[in-house]
Amino acid sequence: MGVDTILTDGIVPAQLRQRPEALLQVDQLSIDIATRDANVRLVDNVSFGIGRGERVALVGESGSGKSVTAQALMRLNSRVKLSGRVQFDGKDLLSLSNSQMAAMRGQRMGMVFQDPMSSLDPLMTIGDQVAETLRIRGVSKREARQRALDVLDELKVERAAERLDSFPHEFSGGMRQRVVLAMALVGEPDLLIADEPTTALDVRVQERVLDLLDEISRRRSLAVLLITHDLGIVAGFADRVMVMYSGRIVEENEATLLFAEPQHPYTRGLLEAVPRADITVDRLRSIAGAPPAPGARPSGCTFHPRCDHAMAMCSSVEPGETITPLGARVRCHLYGAG
């Protein structure tokens, strides 16, 4: 039986799918942190790629390692030890000098965080903050200001010209998040890493910010790595989704397929555990227990103590990666090739 006979209409087999040219390639990235007593592995052997202009979501719960991974790609956390390889447009990021990396950050890769207020300097005008990365690169004051204005316009900040001289406290939460986005986008990066960019916002503002991000990513063919715990916003935004659990990527697939045909028991459990505003159900399925702390990971498959399908081998053997006929890259013994 060939792969094509298993697949339903309209689904292209994984190996035939057109993937955009890789922009970021992460190979076997592990992240360790030394605590007083021990060395704790926060992220364990994570591999993935992001193509030019592609929107990829990294979904996980607290402690899964998603934010640490994002920071590692930008080399923002100097307290952790990174191993493996991170290639960005052919350059090995982990072997760049600090100043080379700093240049990458402003020009090629941008990042936004959850809380806009902590990313903004309360004593500096919006215009100066957005223009700052350009000024560091030696762009003239006048041109930097103009480009800051352009990017604020692109993000549909009303009366942007007048507001260049305002301070962060004069802006609402949604507007601040646009300013933070402007700071990340003014250098025209190829990749934007957005770590829970809308978590602190009300739903209508969240929708607006995601729409803007969607628009800009298409217009500029900007690749976006969206890091979030919210499967709802992922569904409307991402082309491809990676699910992270306890420091490992347990499943990855095209967004449509991941939501329609989740393979890993954790992904399935998560999708069933989320209440929906558009349908009424009697009872939510819940996943027993709680995610483990990074220092206290179970052996074998780290999800096995919470898994309904756990078999004897799950507690001792760490599952390798398998590609299912639906193109899911999954780490689970249910799909084990042996």
Partner: protein, 269 residues
């Protein structure tokens, strides 16, 4: 049971002006009923809770519990009110005293309200309660710090429910929890409500959670209740433009729905 009767509240906004925070709020919770109050940040959700508990005095209107005004109750009625009405807060890391063991935390209400006068009797009730929320006897001597967020929220619920209140006011009780743990706590609240025929006033910004848990829903927009009806009315045939806008903006974990909605928004002027 709980009657919020035309309350309004404003706060001084400087230079002699006042900001209207609540405008003519009417909301009732009957025995065994689960009422959801949905609103964005700044809509007045917390002020309603404060008024309902008698912590903030409304400018006009009144809040009564079983017919007795919460602002003007006698000492006896106040004590009864404090036993009948319990609270579950958003942040289980801040709402449990870190220096108290689980046994002390959950047993405190029994002691204060003199429901169990012996230590052995209290322990038995605490153990029984912990079992109801899915925690074992080994939890008794432990402190909150050794529990995860979801477990702490269970402890908070056990602490609230152990004295058999009639009304549970929940202020965003699952919004600080992980997705996989949220469902456990939602299910627990649902079970408690059914088993003990608890009235629940569930205050949240998350429409999906409210739809799941509440049979009556009120939508709050900047201090006014703009829509109030059964779950089906509010979610399936919303009348007010604000409710419709909120519902349209709630992310749905289905890429087909998400993309269709975005296309619709982009087509609109």
């Amino acid at each position: 049971m709980l009657q919020i009767d035309h309350i309004s509240k404003s706060f001084p906004a400087g230079r002699g002006r006042r900001t209207m925070v609540l405008d003519d709020i009417v909301l009732n919770v009957d025995e065994g009923q689960s009422v959801g109050l949905v609103g964005e940040s700044g809509s007045g959700k917390s002020t309603i809770i404060r008024c309902a508990l008698g912590l903030t005095r409304p400018d006009s209107g009144r809040v009564s519990y079983s017919g007795i005004d919460v602002q003007r109750s006698s000492r006896f009625d106040t004590l009864r009110f404090r036993r009948d009405v319990q609270l579950v807060f958003q942040d289980p890391y801040a709402s449990l005293n870190p220096r108290m063991t689980v046994e002390e935390l959950v047993g405190e209400g029994l002691l204060v309200h003199k429901l169990e006068t012996t230590a052995a009797g209290r322990r038995a009730r605490v153990v029984e309660m912990l079992a109801m929320v899915g925690l074992g006897e080994e939890a008794l001597a432990r402190y909150p710090r050794s529990f995860s967020g979801g477990q702490r929220q269970r402890i908070a619920i056990a602490r609230a429910v152990v004295i058999r209140p009639k009304l549970l006011i929940c202020d965003e009780p699952v919004s600080a929890l992980d997705v996989s743990v949220q469902a456990q706590v939602i299910n627990l609240l649902q079970d408690m409500q059914k088993q003990l025929s608890l009235g629940i006033l569930f205050v949240a910004h998350d429409l999906a959670v409210v739809r799941h848990l509440c049979t009556t829903v009120a939508v709050l927009e900047r201090g006014r209740i703009v829509e109030h009806g059964t779950r089906e009315q509010v979610f399936d045939t919303p009348q007010h433009a604000y409710t419709r806008a909120l519902l349209k903006a709630v992310p749905i974990p289905d890429p087909v729905v998400g993309r269709a909605r975005r296309a619709e928004r982009q087509a609109a002027p």
